[in-house]
Symmetry: C2
Subunit: 121 residues, 2 copies
């Protein structure tokens, strides 16, 4: 999965860092995949970068959005609300969520890959 | 490693998503650890969340800073500049770096852990 490449700032990032509880991996994984697909279908969704979890169950997902209204609409989506409640009840030991306005962005690609170094801003 | 817990917004996040080239893991790992420690010693550094890399070599590090001036000073730090150049020459297939102003933040901890649910803002 390549890194998300986005239009010029400003846009918004939702930084979600989390530590999983142990177990229930299948149900969690299915819900996480569904939520990721559902988020991608929302108006104002721009992209997402997400990592695997390490041995301590920690992972980071950063999703990108056009504006605050798009983030708010996704937050209030019924299926997302159900999944979030299940996450608090069962799947997360702890998490932090930060909403941040992206002001500048830079990209780098190795010249061999056929891309050239570029700065979005 | 627990998740970074921070003062109330506003503050800044530097979102660094990267894909490693293959090999040279020892030199890369040593430099990454040194840079992480050096960043933590800078004025205005607030914290960091960082994941392991997945099978495709992708990882995300989000560092948190008091303000833009602190980010700029760290960007211009000589050792950091040397490491960044080595990263472009040898260690990264591609990366994206985004500077974003954190406007709101939420925390969740399972009640069993002795913490209670809280919202920083």
């Amino acid at each position: 999965m390549p890194l998300s490449r986005l239009p010029e700032p400003p846009y918004y990032a939702v930084i979600f860092s989390s530590i999983r509880t142990k177990g229930d991996d299948t149900a969690y994984g299915e819900t996480a995949t569904m939520m990721s697909q559902l988020a991608a279908a929302q108006d104002g969704y721009l992209g997402e970068d997400s990592t695997m979890r390490d041995g301590e169950g920690m992972g980071i997902t950063v999703s990108y959005w056009r504006d605050e209204a798009a983030i708010r609409a996704w937050k209030q989506h019924l299926d997302h609300t159900v999944a979030r409640n299940a996450g608090r009840e069962k799947w997360y030991q702890s998490y932090t969520l930060r909403v941040a306005k992206v002001e500048r962005a830079y990209d780098f690609d190795r010249p061999e890959s056929g891309f050239s170094k570029q700065a979005a801003v």
